[in-house]
């Protein structure tokens, strides 16, 4: 059984629908620690020691956030800047996170076809997230292909949100119970509610 840490970063929780549902689910699962970063650090004064200690207690780290300007919300970026210190997460003696996993859980406002060389965003979602991928690599962590939902603001109207939410729950449980197919996942650029690679016996 793996221990999972979900770090939610949403600067406008009052307007959050998709992440609100995902958060409710994440908080309901045993073995998952859920943290609302904007709630813990409304003034951006991150407690580095506490955050590092929390990281060490978990095996799989999830960044759950709405994509903002093709990146993480500012507080999550601040969190990376402060918590992933030299000598701790990377560099000489920086092996505290060795062997752990990093999984971004992203909600994107634009539709899937916008995240394409021909779409108005010009790049695919995986490419936008390469900074996280390289961060994981430098920190000796294994990067798991991002679990994403496109056109997230329309998801509830289109009836897509419920499946995305239930699959999120399945994903978290599979990660916890070692029923997640990492090899298969590595072959996919983006994980969605339709292509989750779960092993036999996953709940």
């Amino acid at each position: 059984m793996k221990k999972i840490l979900v770090l939610l970063a949403h600067p406008a929780p009052r307007h959050s629908v998709t992440n609100g549902q995902l958060s409710t689910v994440a908080q309901s699962i045993d073995g998952v620690t859920f943290v609302d970063l904007y709630k813990d650090y409304p003034r951006f004064k991150i407690n580095i020691e506490a955050e590092q200690a929390r990281l060490e207690e978990h095996d799989i780290i999830l960044f759950q956030f709405p994509l903002m300007w093709y990146s993480t919300p500012s507080l999550l970026k601040e969190w990376q800047d402060l918590v992933l210190e030299y000598g701790y997460a990377y560099g000489e003696g920086g092996t505290a996170l060795k062997g752990k996993f990093l999984l971004p859980v992203v909600s994107a406002g634009g539709p899937e076809n916008a995240y394409d060389a021909d779409g108005y965003n010009n790049f695919d979602l995986r490419t936008f997230l390469t900074p996280l991928e390289q961060t994981a690599d430098l920190c000796h962590m294994t990067y798991i292909s991002p679990y994403a939902i496109y056109a997230s603001l329309r998801a509830i109207k289109d009836g897509r949100l419920d499946l995305h939410t239930s699959q999120y729950k399945a994903l978290l449980c599979a990660l916890r119970d070692d029923k997640f197919d990492y090899k298969q996942a590595a072959k996919l650029d983006i994980l969605t509610c339709e292509n989750l690679p779960l092993k036999q016996g996953a709940k």
Partner: protein, 634 residues
């Protein structure tokens, strides 16, 4: 009574007219006083022989000045300058006295008198030079410090000189003296050491010095605290005067120089938290007495004798000043003073000093120098002092432009270190002080409560007792070269006064002020404060934020709400500050009322915005990228 009032009127009148004119003309206050003295004395003849008595009284200004000099000088600093003090000072006095004595002997004066003349002329004028250096802000420069070391050595050297002079007595003159004497004189002075054996004198003297040092160190604090507890300014002033006069009296009784004694007391008290208060209490007395002293020097010039011996007096004066300057220049080379500092040192000390007058009258009393010779020498001393301001003008107008003109501005010496004055060290000022000290800024902390100063002292926070709304105290705390002043006192009237004064004196200084409420914000704004902090505003906003969080609002939402609120409030207060009129109550000020309504409406709109649509100022951002998304309120 009328006579006394008339004299006081004449002296003050002369000073009040002459000094501002002299200063305006760039001549400095000392020359102003001297000219005032010449005018009321030899020129108009309003004052006469009583100037001699007044001069003895006014010499006390020198004593006070040395007390203040001591206050500025911490023991550590004194120890650090011991090489300059003994080396530079010792060489200057020794060389000058020797050369002058040799010349005097060559001119036909007998050996004993020659030595006395050398001693008299080796001294410079502490009063003029220190006053001028302070006025010009040159005290902390290398040249100023070197000059100060020499002056200090001279002031100390006066004591052994006074001991030496009776040994130089010329039998002929002594006989003459005894012939003239009609009783009284020196022996009538009160003394503790008369008739004691040498070792007893030494013992009593040591004891007196010990009393000053130990008393200053251990007794002054509780005593001053007790007096400060009475919260009567004049009593503290009286205590300060008592201290100086008491020490001067003690020193005189044991036959030591009062100036040296008070200087010592000043050094001992330099570490005291009452330093600035003492300084500002004594300073006006010192200024007046020194002024009086210079007036009497001017008034005492014997113009009749001067006219008869014009060439001799001027020749001797110029010769003396040239010689002294040459010795000083040589020393400046040896002690590696550079550029303007070398010339400051050379020019500032080239005159004879007020102790010269003292020594001269002493030499005559002891039959070392004849009355006629002393008359001549007296004029030389006075004239050289009179010419000193001209040397400073030469330094300012010729030497400085010439030497600094050739070089880049970078080499200009910063003579004073920038500091932050913190007025008020209650709960508010303490925090600021800690933040500033912790980041390497020098602070001068002033507080009206002696208990507070004492309590803080126990925790290692250095602060000074004093009323920061007194301009002289602010000045003593270094207002003229501080980078910033933080006004953190309770009394709103005093706070506004301090801000106004600081802004008036220093248009460029940064002023951070603490305000109790809006009205005070407006006042401080008018007085010229840069940053005005309402003492309870931030904490009330934080309490409001906690309340919002407690009611279930997401902490980050609460943070955004109070950020918007604070911004709106500051904007509103700035708007209202312009409409505020201190003479009209706010509820009668139509423009103020109109603006207040306007501000309140804007504020409501902003706040409602955060609860309703996402157009309010609280959260305009955090919309996803790309095309305008569908409404998220559905």
């Amino acid at each position: 009574m009328t006579g006394f009032l008339f004299q006081a009127f004449v002296y003050l009148c002369a000073a009040v007219i002459a000094v501002p004119i002299a200063k305006r003309l760039g001549l400095g206050s000392v020359l102003g006083y001297l000219i005032a003295g010449i005018v009321i004395g030899p020129v108009i003849g309003l004052v006469g022989s009583e100037t001699q008595d007044i001069q003895h009284f006014a010499e006390f200004g020198v004593v006070m000045m040395l007390f203040l000099v001591g206050l500025e000088l911490e023991p550590k600093a004194l120890w650090a300058m011991r090489h300059k003090l003994l080396g530079l000072g010792g060489l200057q006095v020794g060389l000058t006295a020797g050369i002058i004595a040799a010349i005097a002997y060559a001119l036909g004066v007998n050996v004993q008198s020659s030595i006395a003349v050398g001693l008299v002329f080796s001294l410079s004028s502490t009063a003029i030079v220190l006053q001028t250096l302070n006025e010009k802000g040159l005290m902390k420069s290398d040249g100023g410090q070197s000059s100060f070391s020499v002056l200090l050595f001279q002031d100390i050297a006066v004591i052994p000189m006074l001991a030496l002079i009776p040994l130089l007595a010329v039998q002929e003159l002594v006989d003459h003296l005894h012939h003239d004497e009609h009783g009284g004189g020196h022996g009538a002075e009160l003394s503790l050491v008369d008739g004691l054996a040498g070792w007893q004198v030494a013992g009593v003297t040591m004891l007196a010095v010990a009393v000053v040092i130990v008393g200053g160190h251990y007794l002054s604090r509780p005593l001053f605290r007790f007096i400060a507890g009475a919260k009567l300014r004049e009593v503290f002033t009286a205590a300060a005067l008592l201290l100086v006069i008491g020490i001067a009296l003690l020193m005189s009784l044991v036959g030591l120089s009062p100036a040296l004694g008070t200087f010592l007391a000043g050094v001992v008290l330099a570490n005291s938290e009452f330093r600035h208060e003492l300084e500002s209490d004594i300073d006006p007395f010192k200024g007046l007495l020194l002024g009086l002293f210079f007036i009497t020097v001017g008034a005492g010039i014997n113009f009749g004798y001067l006219q008869d011996n014009l060439a001799t007096v001027f020749g001797l004066t110029f010769g003396l000043m040239l010689l002294k300057a040459l010795v000083l220049l040589g020393l400046a080379f040896i002690f590696k003073l550079k550029g303007t500092d070398r010339w400051l040192f050379t020019l500032s000390l080239a005159q004879a000093g007020e102790f010269g007058f003292v020594l001269l009258s002493f030499t005559v009393q002891n039959g070392v120098i004849s009355g006629e010779l002393s008359q001549l020498l007296l004029l030389v001393v006075a004239l050289s002092m009179l010419l000193t301001p001209l040397l400073f003008i030469l330094y300012d107008k010729v030497i400085v432009p010439k030497l600094t003109g050739d070089r880049s501005r970078e080499e200009d010496e910063i003579t004073e270190q920038g500091t932050v004055i913190i007025a008020g060290t209650g709960r508010f000022g303490q925090i600021i002080n800690r933040l500033l000290l912790g980041n390497g800024f020098q602070t001068v902390v002033l507080d009206l409560s002696a208990e507070m100063v004492d309590r803080l002292g126990k925790f290692g926070v250095r602060s000074f007792y004093g009323d920061a709304s007194r301009p002289d105290l602010l000045h003593a705390a270094g207002l003229h070269d501080a980078k910033m002043i933080v006004v953190a006192i309770d009394d709103p009237d005093r706070a506004a006064e301090i801000v106004q004064h600081a802004r008036h004196e220093r248009p460029d200084i940064h002023i951070v002020a603490r305000a109790r409420d809006r009205t005070e914000v407006y006042r401080l704004y008018r007085a010229g404060a840069n940053d005005i902090i309402r003492e309870t505003f931030d904490s009330s906003v934080r309490a409001g934020r906690s309340a919002l969080e407690g009611l279930g609002i997401h902490p980050y939402e609460a943070e955004k709400i109070v950020t918007a609120f604070t911004a709106m409030d500051l904007k509103g207060i700035r708007k209202l500050a312009d409409a505020y009129d201190p003479d009209t109550p706010a509820h009668e000020n139509a423009e103020y009322i109109r603006l207040a309504h306007e501000v309140a409406a804007e504020m409501d709109e902003a706040m409602m915005g955060s609860r309703g649509a996402h157009k309010g100022s609280v959260d305009r951002a955090w919309m996803p990228p790309g095309k305008r998304p569908d409404s998220i309120d559905e």
